[in-house]
Amino acid sequence: MTFGKLSEDSISFRSNYLERIVNQEELLYAPTHEWVHVGEDGIATIGITDFAVEQLTDLVYMELPDVGATVTAGEEFGEVESVKAVSPLYSPISGEVIEVNSGLPDELEVLGTDAFGAGWIAKIKMDGGAPDTLLNHTTYKTQIAAEG
């Protein structure tokens, strides 16, 4: 997908746009079930996959990173808690958190219906490119087929 025709300085507009047309096949995936959408402007949007949400079930709490925080690929940047257990969220990329979906912890049910859209977690100003360890859609699907 292209964002060329959009005003790149309007993050909120862009996030609305993302909610509407995000294409799972064009996202990158961490083996730990986070997805990342890499924008042409070097801003990445990250979230967790529908598979992760389905496996966790009964979500009650999410801890978001702070805006301005630095996150590192493969390291914990937040956590999600279900009735059963707490699971760390790992950042798929490195950079600075420029925006978080602050309403999400109060409406975690959104993750059950729109994990790749309205359920986005944070936007990161990327420091360098996406790591080679991230999976494309086909490879990720193969992984979850083996896990599920």
Binding site: T57, D58, Y61, E81, S82, V83, K84, V86
Partner: protein
């Protein structure tokens, strides 16, 4: 997710596998942790009737009813003399008073009126208790048989449990009083039926022949579904027992915890009795330096979990042994052990949850009791 190839399987395992059960390793058994959602399964039990496969629990049969007298020498609570038809919850302790297991001892009679003794132990402690029994008595003489793999055990729990079970049994389980049991036919099959459970709800538990387990399970399940119930996995079994403040072996009961710390006075009879650990329990009752079991409630959504530390100001005053978000109360609840001087209801403490201290209050146990 994890490999379950070398794990033990209950007679109901094929059903769990074919019906969305998420199978995990639990004490060496491949068990369903959940089928759908923990909250939905929890509520199905609280509001209707939940079916639990608890076949992983150890089931020991003694043909000789004198086994109750033998077991009475090893249990914290008197299980002999005990009238036929009665069941008692008790602990088994080692010589220093550490808890080896919590068990149910049954004194029942078969349909011909021949009495026998039966005991249910935790899956994780089955071999340990078996060795402990062998160390203290001649099990062969007592007609001992480990029936764990020959039978299945199904718990049917919830406000509608007895109403759905009554028509399926030759003698209605509702005719039993609480903590009583009998041999009767369930779906035409000779079984042990007891009015016991581990959820805080009324209901019964069935010990049935392994070969008939799936048939009985599916018959009961059909009735349960008609009253808004269903199959419940181990995860919701844990949230249910935690709300009911029932101790869980490995958490509130361990070999390093003395029963006097757990507030299970009903399960301890010291007077005129001898059993391993008796004197250690008597001494621990008077020892005010030993922490005691406590209930804690919190606001918000973040639950304290096992090993979270409890603070009063800068002083560490206890540790959490079980915690979850309570589906019924819609708030985090926890049990743990705290120093005696801080146990007053309403005492404000803080719990360290992964580096953040959150407020909690000492509260009355149980967190939930049925209406």
């Amino acid at each position: 997710m994890s490999s379950t190839t070398e794990l033990l399987k209950t007679p109901l395992h094929p059903w769990h596998h074919d019906n969305g059960g998420r199978l995990v390793d639990f004490a060496g058994w491949s068990m369903p942790v959940q089928y759908t959602s923990i909250i939905e399964e929890h509520n199905a039990c609280r509001n209707g009737a939940g079916l639990f496969d608890v076949s992983h629990m150890g089931r020991f049969f003694f043909a000789d009813p004198n086994a109750c007298e033998f077991l009475n020498g090893l249990t914290t609570r008197r299980v002999h003399p005990m009238a036929a038809g009665k069941i008692r919850y008790s602990l088994m302790t080692n010589d220093s008073g550490g808890v080896l297991d919590d068990v149910l001892v049954y004194h029942l009679q078969d349909t011909a009126g021949v009495p026998f003794c039966f005991m249910v132990v935790n899956a994780s402690n089955r071999q340990k208790i078996l060795a402990w029994l062998k160390q203290h008595g001649d099990l062969e003489k007592l007609g001992f048989e480990d029936r764990t793999t020959k039978t299945a055990m199904i718990a049917v729990q919830g406000p509608r449990a007895l109403e759905i079970m009554d028509p399926l049994c030759e003698t209605a389980p509702s005719s039993l009083t609480y903590y009583h049991g009998m041999m009767t036919k369930v779906c035409g099959v000779e079984s042990i039926v007891s009015r016991t459970g581990y959820t805080g709800e009324d209901g019964c538990e069935l010990t049935v022949p392994a070969d008939d387990a799936i048939k009985i399970w599916t018959s009961v399940l059909e009735k349960a579904k008609a009253v808004g119930g269903g199959a419940v996995g181990l995860a919701a079994r844990d949230t249910l027992r935690l709300e009911a403040a029932m101790p869980l072996y490995g958490h509130e009961l361990t070999e390093t915890i003395n029963p006097a710390q757990v507030n299970v006075k009903f399960a301890i009879n010291l007077k005129d009795r001898e059993f391993p650990g008796r004197d250690a329990i008597a001494a621990a009752r008077k020892d005010t330096t030993l922490p005691r079991r406590v209930g804690l409630e919190m606001d918000g959504k973040r639950a304290a979990r096992e090993h979270s530390l409890i603070y009063l100001g800068d002083q560490q005053v206890g540790e959490v042994t079980s915690g979850t978000f309570s589906p019924t109360l819609q708030r985090p609840i926890a049990m743990g052990f705290m120093n005696m001087e801080h146990l007053e209801i309403g005492t404000e403490v803080e719990i360290d949850i992964r580096g953040k201290r959150l407020p909690a209050r000492v509260c009355q146990l149980p967190f939930y009791s049925r209406g």
